[in-house]
């Protein structure tokens, strides 16, 4: 009997050598006359173990990792095809504490299934949400999403159901569903993982959105830096179309929904929803002034739902299990779960889907295991390049949208980048301004000019040129950007800058504290 062996096709696993490992395993099996069947699954998101190879046994899947091609012969010698003991053996995958202690709802299938296999998807609760939605009125679908408490997972945390309701109520001959898959923030990879490791869940979520608001066309705008995600989505869309899950007559309902992937072109600002729409229309990705809201005048001037990947990929489980099931996770007004992403200088970096409410410290220590370098954590940037740098004394803040907002930080999309005590926070503040200067769309002055002046002012602070006056000027400049910018690019760049200045004044040569 042939043994099923799983070798991830997730691009992080590939970057760590998964393709070579798959080749080595199939070559070694052939040499030894062992019958195996290799499934290229998604990643479980435990990147320190990648490439992580799993073997199906009667007890469940047994994990081995991180596997190097040079380890493969030894693994066969140790009888790993029967789940045999080996130095790289991690036991039953599902029992690995990092994974076991998560609450995987949106990521329920990620790492388990073959991402581009429709039958695998269907065998693991796939399309249960769409099947239920098809029997419901559009109002009822929107209500279900409203009742779930789902808020936009891209960062702004606006209630998804309200956005949908606005589009559903708009009158127009054509409406659109647009998925914002321009995940350009450093420290985030949950969108990438969904697209590469479970693309059908995003397709299903967008199809449900289409039924809910009366849209027949969807676009997934994916950044050009994610070619593996684009390939997986295109393959899954073709399969879904061939099998009646997309197209003119979805599951015989008489309703139509078509889906197309569009590739971005390396502009960070296109993660901002109106700039993304401009880009989809074939123009420079310049931010639009709101109103009108995209819900009323969006893509090609038509009513448009524009949501992040995780928001849309969470819709299927909300429909399949019901709003109450999802809403019961979380704390306060932050309902459900968020796939947190542990990145940067962290020992056990990876994806942790948990209900809102645990503290940042629990995530960094219990899951992350501290820094990779073994030095103390000094700062954690939460929520992307426009998120605040949080110092040690703020790490006990619960992960909840409101609790973070109260201390001038943001949960955003749940990406966190860990820095040890060797970091120079003045350089990080400078980088934030420089990044804004490079990536600004240029439409509004506070962002376009402010960021360039910001770099100059921080350079003067670093070189101790009129330091007190320059710090005063930097704060004034941040105030202008915060309150005067057209969108979040210029409006949030002060977050990393001011948090670095406020929490780590010694790095800016503050006379009150000595530099380390």
């Amino acid at each position: 009997m042939s043994v099923t062996i799983y070798v991830p096709r997730d691009s992080a696993a590939i970057a760590l050598g998964a393709n070579d490992v798959a080749v080595a395993i199939s070559g070694e099996a052939k040499k030894r006359g062992v019958e195996i069947h290799i499934v290229r699954n998604g990643s479980r998101g435990m990147f320190w173990l990648e490439p992580m190879v799993e073997v199906a046994t009667a007890q469940g899947r047994v994990a081995y990792g991180p596997v190097d091609p040079a380890d493969v012969a030894g693994l066969f010698d140790a009888g790993f095809v029967q789940g045999g003991a080996h130095a790289l053996e991690q036991g039953l995958t599902e029992e690995i504490p990092y994974l076991k202690n998560q609450e995987r709802l949106t990521f329920a299938r990620v790492g388990i299934t073959d991402p581009v296999s429709l039958s695998d998807y269907l065998a693991h609760e796939g399309y249960a949400g769409l099947r239920r939605a098809i029997g419901m009125s559009s109002e009822a679908i929107v209500q279900e999403v409203l009742d779930s408490g789902l808020r936009g997972r891209g960062g702004a945390a606006f209630p998804t159901g309200i956005k949908w309701k606005t589009v559903a109520n708009a009158q127009a001959a054509q409406k659109y569903i647009v998925c914002n898959a321009d995940e350009g923030d450093s420290g985030t990879f949950s969108d990438r993982m969904v697209m590469e490791d479970d693309p059908f869940v995003l397709i299903e979520g967008m199809t449900i959105a289409g039924l809910a608001v009366g849209a027949t066309q969807g676009y997934i705008y994916v950044r050009s830096e994610y070619p593996h995600a684009i390939a997986a989505l295109n393959e899954a869309i073709a399969t879904a179309s061939q099998n009646g899950y997309l197209g003119a007559n979805i599951l015989g309902s008489g309703k139509a929904f078509r889906l197309e992937v569009r590739m971005g072109a390396g502009a960070y600002i296109c993660g901002e929803e109106t700039a993304l729409l401009e880009s989809l229309e074939g123009k420079r990705g310049v931010v639009r002034a709101k109103p009108p809201l995209p819900a009323l005048e969006g893509l090609f001037g038509k009513p448009t739902v524009i949501n992040n990947v995780i928001s849309l990929a969470t819709v299927p489980i909300v429909l399949a299990r019901g709003a109450a099931f999802y809403k019961n996770y979380g704390m306060g007004r932050s309902h459900g779960t968020l796939p947190f992403q542990l990145a940067g200088n962290v020992k056990y970096g990876g994806l942790v889907e948990k209900a809102f409410g645990l503290t940042l410290r629990q995530l960094l220590e219990d899951f992350g295991g501290g820094t990779l370098s073994g030095r103390p954590i000094r700062a954690v940037q939460v929520g992307g390049p426009l998120g605040a740098y949080m110092p040690q004394q703020q790490l006990d803040t619960p992960l909840d949208y409101e609790a973070f907002a109260a201390i001038g930080a943001m949960v955003g999309h749940g990406g966190m980048v860990v820095f040890d005590d060797s970091v120079d926070m003045a350089q990080q503040a400078r980088y934030a301004m420089e990044f804004c200067a490079i990536e600004s769309c240029g439409k509004c002055t506070p962002c376009r000019i402010g960021s360039t002046r910001g770099v100059e002012v921080i350079d003067k602070i670093i070189s101790n040129d009129n330091r007190p006056q320059q710090v005063h000027l930097l704060r004034d400049l941040c105030d202008t950007m915060l309150n005067g910018s057209l969108c979040a690019m210029g409006g949030l760049t002060p977050y990393p800058v001011l948090s670095a200045l406020n929490h780590f004044p010694e790095d800016f040569g503050s006379p009150t504290e000595k530099a380390a």
């Binding site: 691009s11 992080a12 590939i14 970057a15 760590l16 990147f47 320190w48 990648e50 995940e183 350009g184 923030d185 450093s186 420290g187 985030t188 990879f189 969108d191 990438r192 050009s224 830096e225 994610y226 070619p227 569009r262 590739m263 971005g264 072109a265 390396g266 502009a267 960070y268 880009s279 989809l280 229309e281 074939g282 123009k283 420079r284 990705g285 090609f300 992403q341 542990l342 990145a343 940067g344 200088n345 962290v346 970096g349 990876g350 990779l372 370098s373 940037q381 390049p385 990406g415 980048v417 860990v418 820095f419 040890d420 970091v423 990080q428 980088y431 990044f435 990536e439």
Partner: protein, 159 residues
Amino acid sequence: MNREQPFDVGAVRDVIAARRHMPGAMLPILHGIQDAVGFVPADAVPMIADALNVSRAEVHGVISFYHHFRQQPAGKHVIQVCRAEACQSVGSEALARHAEKLLGCAFHETTADGQFSLEPVYCLGLCACGPNVVVDGELHARVGADKLDRLLQAKRGAS
């Protein structure tokens, strides 16, 4: 500097013909051209403008707005080093300086022999296993100076 590079005019014409009727066809056309000929030649601009019924200035404006599009061919091998925060936190700036020294060219430049172009990239979504590098489209995670030396040596050997 403005000397036009030779390119396959027929390939550009085919891409435009195949994609001009897509809604918002500009980016798909530019991607198609760059995939086919390696960059977006200046002489393709009037062809695109004509097909989409927009001005040449608009086409040029789009090409120059997006970092992905090239107006000149790249070197034979393209090396991209991630310079975003997560990679910075594990030493990507030192790696970036090492890459410049190794190749003898700065970021956004091509080596004098035309073999290597060095470019920054801001996030590949591999932020839990940096520093990350892309060599001719292939992803490499946890790249230190030694690994970068090996990757470049392999390309030198192959060329």
